[in-house]
């Protein structure tokens, strides 16, 4: 066991776990942040996508030893307050971008990274940005629409 320090959704955390424990497991089982989902465990589906120092990563492929001192953002940290949704979540809700919801947390994080990097409502660019996140329900149409709507609503992307 080793002690690791990092921040999750702006809160400092400390965990005692083996260094090769997956970030996904640490989030779900040590920190009770079960919003991040496991779909395949081998970096194919993107359901476990979180932001590591602002960049989207598959948390099933990240050992916790690589997270020391880093900043992690998960779906639980998106909403600005309880009973509120951020612009991207709202767009997903309004356009029908979430169906079964299991890819949604990862999809939101990929979308958030795209918007934070200044991404606009361009269809091709959005599809490229979420190409690592599989969805089996929507055909992606309404997910792309949701991200484009959020980009339109907040040009230049201020959170």
């Amino acid at each position: 066991m080793t002690t690791f320090h990092f921040t999750v959704n702006a809160a400092p955390v400390e965990v005692d776990v083996p260094g090769m424990r997956r970030l996904l497991d640490v989030l779900r089982e040590e920190l009770a942040l079960t919003g991040t989902k496991e779909g395949c465990g081998e970096g194919e589906c993107g359901a476990c996508t979180v932001l590591l120092d602002g960049a989207p990563v598959d948390s099933c492929l990240v050992p916790i030893c690589q997270v020391e001192g880093a900043t992690v953002a998960t779906v639980e940290g998106l909403a600005p307050a309880a009973n509120e949704l951020d612009a991207l979540q709202t767009a997903f809700l309004e356009t029908g971008g979430a169906q079964c919801g299991i890819c949604t947390p990862g999809m939101l994080m990929a979308g958030r990274a795209y918007l934070d990097a200044g991404g606009g409502p361009d269809d091709d660019a959005i599809r490229e940005a979420i190409a690592g996140n599989l969805c089996r329900c929507t055909g992606y149409t309404k997910i792309v629409e949701a991200i484009a709507r959020a980009a339109d609503a907040h040009p230049g992307q201020a959170r």
């Binding site: 079960t34 194919e44 709202t90 029908g96 919801g101 299991i102 939101l108 269809d123 149409t141």
Partner: protein, 783 residues
């Protein structure tokens, strides 16, 4: 859950002919998805998110043989077994049977019993932590004596089900036909690939029963299976649906297996046990879409009218029956396509092979047979120099036509309408003319004379393809009568309005459309109606959440229950329900209405003769796909799809469009990239790295046109939308590939290998047919 005030407009839905929509529709703006905020904030609890203190982890010991005698299970004596639970067939308190149509599938193969497929469950393990569980799994040795295996359904002597249906005199009619065309079409396994794997947690109860929490579509299927396998009663068995991350049929019958396994372990361990499959296990061991071989012989007149159809359908059921007879039945009834033909013979059978069992998957037999029917019709059109659009115009069912089961289509027939809408919106005629010109220019100009392989001028060829389908709404034949589903509606003493139904939410929108329907019938706001959890301790058996039946059948019952509740309250109070129900509830306490299914008037089917109304109504769908084919690599990119779907009546445009878009992409995957390869009866690509599904970059731009031809047997006219788009996408893509290249692909998926083999005209370079298992020797390394 956040209180949200934003509302969405019904965007993008093109509704045709509103004059035909039944009156009384008070739809307004569609409400937001009821459980949406929980899913968007990470608060929604899927099975693996649920915490049960002291729970152990479960695992399944599986066969590595396709067919063998299970001779022994050896536990390494040097391993510390004191902190591990081992369960074998000998520990099963009830029947060692997974309850389904036939009693042929064991929960665990007993020692001395016959292993029927690779990855079959032989024993169960549970331990307090995953490391111990992994070590225990390594300390188990399975001993078997191999038996000869059958992988080819034509070579199997075990038939799960067979049907013959038809009309007229096909043999005489063929003699009178101007043109006769034959064709054989093959489709392979397809994985549902819900992004949440199968998962179940069993919690033993003090009365000797068990509660399972899990990812599932049909609470009462699991309930029935638990009672039989554990030998417990209705009250001792309890099934609670967790938030479910997609189903598509893959969580219709299979959850009974994993629930039984978890429950057996929990019973012996006397503590909660978590059975959470990883993706590899889910792909290797759970049900797939049935592979099928479909042979068509069709007689037509010079003007394109269908005179006679002779169709043979052979499905591979895998090692156990599961739902195969009903999958086959639906496939057979839909096998002729949505076309008038006076002389039809359809023979269908499903055989056992030593491969993992196949089961429910969106479309349920119809995507297989309608791919064949549509592709064959396009080849007939080509042989007659008719356009694919024109041959459909001349044959599509219209009001008053009779189907091969003798069903007269009395209402809600929209084949022509969806066909014309899709063709018009996609500019099908213009695009096709352009591609014909491009093909003519390309022909003979390449390096290989007369070959459609690429010329020096262009590498990518464009094509457009059209397909049409019908899909029976609800259970086949008298299935709904046998189900006798019940929906309950409560007005509680506190004044809450609560829907009680076993219909599950798995992304399609049950939890949103049900409160919509009830609120509409009661005259109260959407927000005033609650929906009870899908927990067999509270909700009645509303039947399974399958067969596109939820909106039509269960929704219809809910409206009737709402009308009865409203009438009772209004008769007592003399005021409107909306104005008086709270006071009524305070004064009178709980009021509950139970609404049981009653046969739709004028709808009847004879299971023995296979004659009559196979479905109360049909949905109709047309699809136009535009593709680009890389003539060097054989790669297909589906660029655009226009889908026109008649779903009876649209309850929620955004959710309905979502069903069409998602089903269309699953069909595009079926057509182009999704394939299970087998060796010696084992799935080779049993990981997400090797079984691939479309990404956002592979997905076409999808335009959805919702058409409304209401079914008059239910108050709201809805016919269901879930499966319809799955039937029509693949044949449209194959037609588009033919439009681009001039070659017909008869096996799905149209992989680059198959396309290049067809382009080169050298059949020998084609891969094995879909669904076929290559012998171990050919694979070299073997297992």
């Amino acid at each position: 859950m956040p209180e949200l005030t934003t509302r969405t407009e019904p965007a993008g839905a093109v509704v045709v002919d509103p004059g035909r929509i039944a009156s009384g529709r008070a739809r307004g703006a569609a409400p937001l998805r009821r459980e949406g905020p929980a899913k968007l904030t990470g608060a929604a609890k899927y099975a693996d998110d649920l915490v049960f203190p002291g729970a152990w982890y479960g695992a399944t010991v599986r066969s590595t043989d396709a067919h063998a005698t299970f001779t022994a299970l050896e536990l390494d004596p040097t391993f510390d077994w004191s902190s591990v639970v081992v369960v074998t067939a000998a520990d099963i308190p009830g029947d060692n049977i997974v309850s389904s149509i036939k009693a042929d599938q064991p929960i665990l193969v007993p020692i001395g019993g016959e292993i029927q497929h690779h990855a079959e469950p032989l024993a169960l393990l549970a331990a307090s932590d995953r490391a111990v569980l992994r070590a225990a799994r390594q300390a188990v040795t399975v001993r078997t004596a191999p038996l000869p295996a059958v992988f080819d359904p034509f070579a199997s002597d075990h038939i799960f089900a067979a049907y013959e249906l038809g009309s007229g005199d096909p043999d005489a009619a063929f003699a009178a036909a101007d043109v006769i065309l034959e064709g054989e079409y093959r489709v392979g396994h397809q994985e549902q690939l819900y992004i949440e794997n199968n998962a179940m947690i069993a919690v033993p109860s003090e009365d000797g029963g068990v509660t399972v929490h899990g990812s599932l579509q049909c609470p009462y299927y699991v309930h029935t299976a638990l009672k039989r396998g554990l030998g417990i009663d209705d009250r001792q068995a309890r099934v609670v649906q967790a938030e479910t991350g997609g189903g598509f049929g893959g969580k219709e019958e299979f959850p009974s297996v994993i629930a039984l396994h978890a429950a057996l372990l929990a019973g012996v361990a006397r503590r909660p046990v978590r059975m959470i499959y990883d993706r590899h296990e889910d792909l290797a061991a759970t049900t797939k879409r049935h592979p099928a071989i479909v042979r068509h012989r069709t007689g037509v007149a010079h003007d394109g009218r269908l005179i006679a159809q002779d169709i043979e359908v052979v499905m591979d059921g895998g090692a156990y029956c599961t739902l195969t007879p009903v999958v086959l039945s639906r496939g057979a009834i839909h096998a002729g396509g949505p076309y008038r033909c006076p002389n039809v013979r359809i023979r269908a059978r499903a055989a056992r092979t030593n491969t993992p069992p196949n089961g429910a998957f969106r479309g349920f037999g119809a995507p297989q047979t309608e791919f064949a029917a549509e592709t064959h019709l396009n080849r007939i059109a080509e042989a007659l120099s008719l356009s694919p659009l024109e041959i459909r115009r001349r044959n599509v069912y219209v009001l008053g036509d009779t189907t091969p089961t003798g069903q007269v289509l009395r209402s809600s027939v929209a084949g022509e309408e969806v066909l014309e809408r899709a063709a018009e919106a996609s500019e099908y005629v213009r695009l096709r003319a352009r591609h014909i010109a491009a093909r003519a220019q390309r022909a003979g100009s390449g390096a290989v004379p007369a070959s459609p392989l690429r010329t020096g001028r262009e590498r990518v060829a464009s094509g457009v393809g059209l397909a049409l389908a019908w899909h029976g709404a609800g259970f086949t034949g008298s299935g709904e009568v046998h189900l006798a589903s019940v929906v309950s509606l409560e007005l509680t003493g506190e004044g809450a309005i609560r829907i009680l139904t076993a219909s599950t939410e798995m992304g399609q929108g049950t939890k949103t459309i049900f409160p919509q329907l009830a609120a509409d019938a009661l005259g109260v706001p959407f927000e005033a109606v609650e929906i009870a959890p899908q927990d067999t301790a509270y909700v009645p058996d509303s039947g399974p959440t399958v067969a596109s039946r939820t909106a039509m059948v269960v929704g219809g019952l809910l409206i009737k229950a709402s009308q009865r509740l409203r009438d009772q309250v209004e008769a007592a109070t003399g005021g409107t329900f909306a104005a008086t129900y709270r006071d009524y509830a305070k004064a009178n306490g709980l009021l509950r209405v139970d609404q049981r299914f009653e046969p739709y008037p004028g709808v009847g089917f004879d299971d023995e003769t296979y004659r009559g109304d196979a479905y109360p109504a049909f949905g109709w769908a047309a699809c136009v796909a535009s593709v680009e084919v890389d003539l060097d690599t054989g790669e297909v990119h589906v660029r655009d799809v226009v889908a026109a779907d008649d779903i009876g009546r649209v309850i929620h445009p955004v959710l309905a469009e979502g069903q069409v878009e998602g089903g269309t992409l699953q069909a595009v995957g079926y057509a182009t990239i999704e394939e299970i390869k087998l060796r010696d009866g084992r799935y080779l690509n049993d990981r997400l790295a090797t079984y691939i599904i479309p990404t956002s970059l592979d997905a076409p731009r999808i335009t959805t046109i919702l058409v409304e031809a209401p079914f008059d047997g239910v108050p709201h006219g809805a016919k269901g939308v879930g499966e319809l788009p799955m039937d029509v996408g693949a044949p449209a893509v194959i037609a588009a590939i033919a439009d681009a290249t001039g070659v017909w692909i008869s096996d799905l998926p149209a992989s680059p290998e198959r396309i290049l083999a067809a382009l080169s005209g050298v059949a020998g370079v084609a891969p094995l047919p879909p669904g076929a298992s290559e012998p171990a020797a050919a694979g070299g390394a073997g297992r």
